[in-house]
Point group: C2
Chain length 387, copies 2
């Protein structure tokens, strides 16, 4: 397999983007990524598009986006793995280069969610779990799915509602420093706890918002990196992917995500890296509890000690392992298909030490990790990046 | 890049499958492919699912299908490239093995279309072109898009309505010999010509049906093929993919598909094969005109001579190059996501000389070609297979 590097990234502002269509968001992100990587759009012969899709009228967006972006005659496809659709597109683009078939590949993630009324969107999202059985049969929506994880964790490990709130407070703190975040305001524990209950113990401020946005990354082979004289390539050192049952009732417990643990182990093994060596991470915090169980599943702490990590400030800048210091899904926003690609874009900038100084992670080994979950844990992608 | 072989295939009967859900169709195809390849489902760590999706309530089918099929902890994703979604899934599975990341990969294609009312389905399909401009703006449905190709071809090359009808007659003739085809009845030129006009010059019998169905193929690396002692591996000798604008109005002419020509050239080059050497082909005959222009775009004849080829019987068994001798999209049916995978499944059986004797192509060089188009020609995948 060929070594593959990220040589350019782009991302739009996430949020309610009534000012831009799906393809306009996509083109903005692609343009930024092309400028950043100094490639010409004519060189792009592979474009994968992460997009969940049901909230947009562009039902086959890959060719529409390519046309608008001026990409001609390329391999085009949309990749879908629920909320991990962006990572699926990234994985496919990585294979396109690692296989030796393409020397440059572009992964785009894009989602336009806010044109659909919120109750309809909640209905659409609920289908990304076990549709016929758990959603249609029992009416379990996404906050309710994650509430099951939260109550199991609280019951077994003594995690509290305050612990969950601390995740939201941290992620808003960093979102406030990220001009591309959906929410750029700080919040307090009291505000989280007093926000209205969505699915107990999850309150409104425990949930990520519904956002529009796009992100893009340009990948290149080692030979291409040399040929182009890329200043600061960020290497894909390890990549792991696993899955679990669509039906949550068929899983052994709700204390963590098996797919996350397996994907992380595969990525660490491939990168020959230990969890302790990671210096900055993007994890899938669709709900606050998801970030706490991610700490555990990814090996940033022992099982059951996730709440301790957030309580002790270890996942802030200055702590052991800064997590979601771009705001995370919680504050940066979660335009489904864009999220996985945006994580890679953010970590690339972190490793190049190019983010706003107030949210730059201190680096020594220059190792970063992205963790993107699809659905209720049925898809998981973990990527280890390094310089 | 590693050499990759098809080591097992499966396909359900195509048609109005009110007896089976999307995942039941998928599991049937997968089971057949696993038995054919003699692999255990536990060995499957990569599954790509070709599925367009808007006609089914399973919005994220990859994990649902994997769970039902007993596949655990695999890389899962759905691939979408409109009517070429199955080929997108096949391409990704090929990359998974050719990159060296997986020694076995499975591509599944599945679509459940008949649960949606036909007018709604026509509306959904129309969106796979240029939605905002040509579909929404001018109301161009899929038969109307392809009628533009037909009238251009008739005007420039003198192709007639009878020529188009001959394609339908040929494909029904072979569909009648294929127990898995949606339509298993022969038809006459008169029946085609007197069927009701959908979008002139295309009549009802010039159009492929709306079908349910699934197909699956198991791919393996050369090392795995050796290790398993596979009797008759079918090698992926060449694979090409290209694309064109989503907006038909932005193309230079309607006489053929640029994406088909480019994808074919890439596949021939990689396989080091000339068009004349191909002994059996599956081409994308969503409408009869599409098969005629495919002959030309794939180099089976010169530009403008497609109608001559069908008139002279050269694309029947016994002719120069038998095409769609499983019934094609026209008679076998076109469950969108399943089609591309079904083409590979059919050609694998042809190359193994395992189809019904009445529709087996005579083989000498053992070279076959699959051609799958997405949308109005904005995606195209061409694969050259050989023994």
């Amino acid at each position: 397999m060929k070594e593959v590097a990220v040589i350019g990234v782009g991302q739009t502002r996430f949020g309610k983007r009534r000012d831009a269509s799906l393809s306009e968001l996509a083109v903005d992100a692609l343009k930024e990524a092309f400028e950043d990587s100094k490639i010409d759009k004519k060189e792009v012969k592979f474009l994968s598009v992460g997009n969940f899709g049901l909230s947009s009228e562009d039902v086959s967006p890959a060719s529409i986006v390519a046309e608008q972006a001026g990409i001609h005659g390329a391999m085009l496809m949309r990749c879908e793995a629920a909320c991990a659709s962006g990572s699926a597109a990234f994985y496919v683009a990585w294979m396109a280069v690692s296989s030796g078939m393409f020397d440059i590949a572009v992964a785009l993630g894009v989602e336009k969610m806010t044109e659909v009324e919120t109750p309809t969107m909640i209905e659409i999202l609920g289908r990304a779990g076990s549709y016929f059985w758990e959603f249609h049969g029992f009416g379990v929506t996404f906050p309710a799915y994650y509430a099951l994880y939260a109550t199991a964790h609280m019951n077994k490990f003594g995690t509290t509602e305050e612990d969950l709130a601390l995740v939201a407070v941290k992620n808003h703190k960093y979102g406030a420093r990220n001009p591309k975040a959906h929410f750029q305001n700080e919040i307090t524990v009291e505000e989280v706890l007093s926000s209205r209950t969505i699915a107990w113990p999850l309150k409104l401020y425990d949930c990520c918002p519904i956002s529009d946005g796009a992100a893009a990354v340009v990948l290149a082979s080692k030979e291409k990196v040399k040929e182009m004289g890329v200043d600061t390539p960020v290497w894909i050192k390890g990549i792991g992917v696993s899955s679990d049952t669509s039906t949550m009732g068929n899983r052994s417990d709700f204390l963590g995500l098996r797919a996350s643990r397996e994907a992380a182990q595969l990525a660490y093994k491939m990168a020959k890296v230990d969890a302790k060596e990671i210096e900055v991470a993007e994890v899938h915090d669709c709900f606050t509890i998801a970030e706490i169980i991610a700490y555990e599943d990814l090996g940033f702490c022992k099982k059951g000690e996730g709440a301790k990590l957030i309580r002790e400030g270890e996942t802030e800048i200055g702590g052991k392992i800064p997590v979601n210091i771009d705001g995370g899904l919680k504050a940066k926003g979660h335009p489904l298909g864009a999220t996985g690609v945006s994580m890679i874009a953010e970590l690339t900038k972190q490793l190049r030490e190019e983010v706003e100084p107030s949210r730059q992670a201190p680096l020594n080994k220059y190792l970063a990790l992205a963790h993107n979950v699809g659905g209720t844990g049925q898809y998981c992608y973990v990527t280890v990046l390094g310089r």
